[in-house]
Symmetry: C2
Subunit: 274 residues, 2 copies
């Protein structure tokens, strides 16, 4: 099944555009878990069981797992095994290397771990992205305009009268031969999001920056969805997974995910006439 | 000790600018190792013991270890433990993420694994690089002009009359407050290498692209060293570690590393009047 079809089917099944970011930092877990053998897996398991009927995807930022050394890889495997089959899994890896090396990253995340999608950094150009693109049924989300302040350093540079992020959009449309590309665009840039969505009207957008980073939800939904009110993944990490740091952490995360799902639907349903 | 001092002392001790890239691909190991429990660790151990007196550094490209799943992290630890204390270790990770995430990558590679240096992708801008820069005694090699064909897609784009890679050089010189930055510049661009070295005259350069990728050794040494004939790390991966695929793989790798060390010294000693 094509990635886009799987994504649409996951978001329709739960009527949700919410993607929960399992950025589980050992240092921020509830105290009640800290004495367990494997607190991160336990935490993730709690979050997944309470949120999985309110989301269309989980995004796992690899940094949080690599910071744990080899245990991190174990936790990653255990966590992936807990995620229901029909929900999208995204390796937020931001990888990109010369061709023969990107090949190995693609093997790691698409074969060894069997993620549905990955985030890729395009700074090394086409041959660094191409090994990912060859996996026709996987989703390749390419960093286009990131949510952080440093996005100004490169992504807004003017090239022949256009900002670099629009050059990236053009490149992605060309690279999308297997119809498996998506774009990462931060919710902290609502006007640019709208400009990018207009140009890449059929591609999925992965949108971080709501919640702790302060992006505006209403503007993001109206600008980020396609004309059917779909194909936008609204990522929430800290605002959901750390909704409580007590024993009710899972329950509260579930309520926070449900609340975001409803807020998003209350914006998109009338606006897109779903 | 500052990273640059450690690097100079390592390269003087072995009179070598050679950095061996331990890009050990399970699929390419000699047949004689294939039935072992842990062929990659065994292979790396053989390569390290036969090359460690001819090099100043080892570079471990993380993709090759991540492709092995959680075993890969074990192999990484075992391999690092085999490298003599005075030789530089570089995590070729090409990471870069929003601030709170780059923090975790920095923790992973500088604390959990205790690498001496890392490669970083600057596409997400200053706040994505800054958490690495805070480790004052580590080396942060920032991708400036990569060795692959795709380097043309972004790194040569013209910004205000200058190629983007020169903008990157300017940024690095600004970011180098703790004197711990370096640059990654491919040997496949000798003219640009010379232009970059002229501008960043005091910073270490990590130079891949010699060997399998076809960069010219003489031009690279003359352009890439500082005016004392130092601070250039000439990376060799496939050309050294796969010098033989038979039982003599370690011996042949040692001879290949020694041969490169001598070739490099035969170029740099008369040219820089060492």
């Amino acid at each position: 099944m094509k990635f886009t079809e799987k994504l649409i089917s996951a978001s329709r099944a739960n009527n949700s555009l919410v993607c929960v970011g399992l950025d589980s930092d050992l240092k921020k877990l509830p105290d009640c878990l800290k004495n367990l053998d494997d607190p991160v897996s336990e935490f993730n398991s709690g979050i997944i069981s309470s949120t999985s009927s309110h989301v269309c995807a989980y995004k796992l930022n690899l940094a949080f797992y690599e910071a744990l050394g080899k245990r991190g890889w174990d936790i990653l495997e255990k966590t992936l095994a807990q995620i229901p089959e029909n929900i999208i899994t995204i390796a937020d890896a931001k990888r990109g290397d010369i061709g023969n090396t990107s090949d190995l990253y693609a093997r790691a995340f698409f074969e060894t771990f069997n993620f549905d999608a990955i985030t890729v950094n395009p700074f090394l150009g086409y041959d660094s992205v191409q090994p990912f693109l060859e996996y026709k049924d996987k989703g390749i989300f390419i960093l286009t305009l990131t949510s952080n302040p440093g996005s100004r350093d490169y992504q807004y540079l003017e090239i022949e009268g256009k900002p670099l992020y629009m050059k990236t959009v053009e490149k992605i449309l060309k690279w999308n031969v297997n119809e498996n590309c998506g774009l990462v665009v931060g919710a902290t840039h609502p006007d640019e999001l709208s400009e990018i969505r207009f140009k890449a009207d059929k591609l999925p957008l992965l949108i971080p920056g709501i919640g702790a980073q302060g992006g505006d939800l209403e503007a993001t939904i109206k600008s980020g969805c396609n004309r059917h009110g779909e194909l936008a993944l609204i990522n929430l990490s800290r605002a959901v997974i750390y909704a409580s740091n007590k024993e009710d952490y899972a329950e509260k995360a579930g309520l926070a995910a449900l609340d975001y799902k409803n807020k998003i639907n209350n914006i998109r349903e009338p606006f897109f006439k779903l």
